[in-house]
Symmetry: C2
Subunit: 368 residues, 2 copies
Amino acid sequence: MKASRIERLISALQDTEFSLLALNPGASLTYLTGLNFHRMERPIVLWIGVDGKIAVTLPTLEIAKLSLAPMDIKAFPYSDDPQTWQKAFQEAARYLNFRQAVIGVEPNNLRVLEYRFLESAFPEARFHNADHILSPIRMIKEEGEVAAMCKAVQIAQSALQATLPIIKPGVTEKEVASELTIQLLRAGSHPQLPFYPIVASGPNSANPHAVPSDRALKAGDFLVIDWGALYDGYCSDLTRTFSIGDIDPELEKVYSLVEKANENGILAVQPGKTAGSVDQAARRVIQAGGFGEFFTHRTGHGLGMEAHEPPYLYQENDQPLLPGMTFTIEPGIYLPEKGGVRIEDNVLVTDSGRECLTNLPRCLQKLG
Amino acid sequence: MKASRIERLISALQDTEFSLLALNPGASLTYLTGLNFHRMERPIVLWIGVDGKIAVTLPTLEIAKLSLAPMDIKAFPYSDDPQTWQKAFQEAARYLNFRQAVIGVEPNNLRVLEYRFLESAFPEARFHNADHILSPIRMIKEEGEVAAMCKAVQIAQSALQATLPIIKPGVTEKEVASELTIQLLRAGSHPQLPFYPIVASGPNSANPHAVPSDRALKAGDFLVIDWGALYDGYCSDLTRTFSIGDIDPELEKVYSLVEKANENGILAVQPGKTAGSVDQAARRVIQAGGFGEFFTHRTGHGLGMEAHEPPYLYQENDQPLLPGMTFTIEPGIYLPEKGGVRIEDNVLVTDSGRECLTNLPRCLQKLG
């Protein structure tokens, strides 16, 4: 399966400006080869030529991993002395034998570390963003990928349900996050979670990317929990917002708006519509309710091997939705110092509309 | 405390070519400001000027975090539409008001994503590696940093001890890794582990960076466990190798050599000696025993906020050791298809020699 992905990529390269792609460790490299490398202080680059040559520059101690790949990969290893690294890149360049090439890279992944080595190994080359070649392949999920995501959703949902009983006034955000993490592992998530859970209560919930703190939950709080699991290399990413005891009627109203925006966003998903139109469908509800300025982020992001990947659901994005795309729908309203609400689901575009992969209740649940 | 770090950095900048540092999310940014940002698809750059100006380009939804920093940071926010990002970088550049500057960056951290924005915002600037400014500050640990590392060691050691009882023939590598991860959290590690445990048995242990598999342990195996905890932002990183039942006498000999190499490496740590001399002290033992070619990596790496950071202990490194540096000592021997051994400890350079922060037994323990 992996071999056919790389073949598809190589055939997609034929009609482009690219002679060569240079990928460092990350989701695309793993997607194409099945190999996992760390992105650390030692630069690793996988080379894929339009002529079908596949090579890798890597530390000697990583060579054993290459036998796990379902294709031949020519290795150009180097030692732990950084003085030897440039030579390994130059040898790879000689083998690949492209000079005035346009080389495709992933700007969100490639670091200046690798980039400097690429520049010296290919002094006459130009380096261009290759996202528009890789994304269309990775965005359309195969059946096996969707199955892994469904399992990641299931794990995340069970883990939350196993965590709810400990949530009550007096418990801290960190304690909830820690218990939820343990439950994610017990439920079968890979321990390398797609991201560490966000558990944000009271005023902290007004910060969409809050880090769990020592704040103890108390009555009247909103409690935002944003969490996900990793299964077989694929992510889930959910958010639910709870109330601790009774809350202010203004906050209840805010909750209803977000609930309605989430529903509208999900229903707007249709093949052929744009990513932007889904954002607009969710945003319209919040704007009409008078809270537009407090919905400070896009409606969602693609989800798959990475917790954030294309397509991104922001207003201006005219990317058409296609069957097989998977992404989050996660409108929110954040009232500084008062609290915030976000409700996040994971959606698959189907031939006829959408399938919502997540099914935990979306209505306001009172805890504690 | 954080404010004084950034003041120290700014005063160190006075004597350099740099007018400005541009840091993206990662350990140095957190070290200097106490702030944690994700390194995701939205570029975030913290700017530190030699004139004392501090600014940040970031998504609007992250602005709330800035109030946690113990210094004033001028924000240049942008929206979720990528078309707006360049403008935020240009506005920051105008505020910072350096033109033909040399701008310091961290090549191991900065991505081509941010780099392209930097280049357009500062078209007349040159971008140079600033590791030699940041590393000397970060390499020398403060008392509080060492205390956090000691706690991270303690957590890792307790977690392993709590995991040992489940290790016996028939249990898989993944099951051991999963239990160890849960025990790390129960013992108090931050859930964002410095790295996911390596649990490698039998022939898999010959791969220094093996990923836990479904292989079941069996008698005669070496079992390499490489794990660490994160506490208050600081890492521990240990390795122990066990035997499952009785093992081949050749493997026992290999174990003894690695044990001796580890001891020799630790004893070689002295302020004023070089990082390379520690590698040589460990390597000499393995070479004399006839297994030099199977010790395929350096003897160790710096440890602190990052699981791998300077100083790196490779043969050729003439970096002098200084009191306050912390690093691993982890010689290994890897016999393809037979198995591997690695014994890894965490060491602090003191005024008079070294202190070993880890103290789990290093002799060969038989399990199962």
